[in-house]
């Protein structure tokens, strides 16, 4: 089995970036980074002092030391990014839009669900894999064939209702569309099912 720390960014696009990001949270990856940091420190501490260099080499040596300092300063102070506005806005000031509707979300003092970044990336990967596998095999897609909502009780506490839903695979839908199936003679309901039900919705897929 491959070590997760060794997972590289193969391929391109956001998919490979997600795989790489997920790998960053693994303990072996963290270990590897710590070791790399120590190795860099160790190598830096072993720089030659240049005592046995010729005067010419000494000049080059000195120039490179100053150049290294200039490179650090250049990145830390010299290179400035151009930003076309504020990099962030508070979420409470974000307008959410769906079609022509827009609204400001209510402010939450605490998150309803706490999830880690690893979990978020993993969930997205799972969703993407599922969607890919469904796209590759359309026969495996199940669609609502019909769904009936039924009110099972009305009382002072409100209305209780349920739903009877039939989903068919593409294979099943093909058979139904072709009409090549035995007629349904009767529908058997469980004994506890109410004998009278109020149909509240019906839709056919």
């Amino acid at each position: 089995m491959a070590d997760i720390a060794q997972v590289g960014v193969g391929g391109s696009g956001i998919d490979s970036l997600e795989r790489w990001a997920l790998a960053q949270f693994s303990p072996p990856a963290r270990n590897q980074r710590r070791q790399r940091k120590e190795q860099v420190q160790e190598e830096l501490s072993q720089l030659l002092f240049g005592v046995d260099l010729s005067p010419g080499e000494l000049q080059i040596y000195k120039a490179r030391l100053l150049e290294a300092i200039a490179r650090v300063d250049g990145l830390e102070q010299g290179r400035v990014l151009t930003l076309d506005g504020d990099i962030a806005v508070p979420r409470s000031k974000m307008m959410v839009t769906v079609g022509a509707m827009g609204w400001l979300p209510a402010e939450h003092t605490s998150k309803s669900i706490e999830v880690s970044a690893e979990h978020e990336i993993h969930s997205r990967n799972l969703a993407r894999t599922l969607s890919t596998s469904l796209a590759l095999d359309p026969k495996s897609v199940h669609r609502d064939f019909h769904a009936v909502g039924v009110v099972v009780a009305r009382g002072t506490e409100g209305v209780r209702w349920g739903e009877d839903k039939v989903q068919l695979s593409q294979w099943g839908l093909d058979i139904v569309k072709a009409g090549d199936y035995p007629k349904v003679a009767r529908l058997r309901l469980p004994p506890k099912f109410p004998t009278q039900a109020e149909m509240v919705s019906f839709r056919a897929g």
């Binding site: 970036l17 790489w20 860099v40 720089l47 100053l66 506005g85 504020d86």
Partner: protein, 121 residues
């Protein structure tokens, strides 16, 4: 804003629950990458003489850490994953510490050479 300030501020705002504006942040990420690529290319085109290779190695390592932080920031913005903020901050901090170590070591060596040879510069 410098690359490290940009990374620190972006990750910090994300950690505080603010929404990073993709139209502003994503072009800045590209610009930061271009800056780092240019700096890395300078080192690769003109490597350090024998005995100072570690300086190049450490600088490239610091750039690689910033590249990683930028990749994570891009993912966090594209996919809206604020949980990546901590990892971005860690990478940025590691990169900054590596740069400071390069400056410290290079400065110390330069100082030692000045004292030894009596040269100023």
């Amino acid at each position: 804003m410098t690359v490290e300030d940009f990374l620190y501020q972006s990750a910090d705002k994300m950690r505080l629950g603010e929404y990073l504006v993709p139209d502003v942040v994503l072009p800045a990420i590209d610009e930061a990458r271009e800056n780092l690529e240019e700096l890395a290319a300078q080192i690769e085109e003109d490597p350090a003489p024998k005995g100072l290779e570690a300086l190049d190695g450490a600088l490239l390592e610091a750039y690689a850490l910033f590249f990683d932080a930028l990749d994570l920031l891009e993912l966090a913005v594209e996919e809206d994953i604020p949980g990546l903020a901590s990892e971005i901050l860690v990478r940025t901090q590691d990169g900054v510490e590596t740069l400071r170590e390069v400056r410290r070591q290079a400065g110390a060596h330069n100082q030692a050479m000045q004292e030894e040879t009596g040269a100023i510069g």
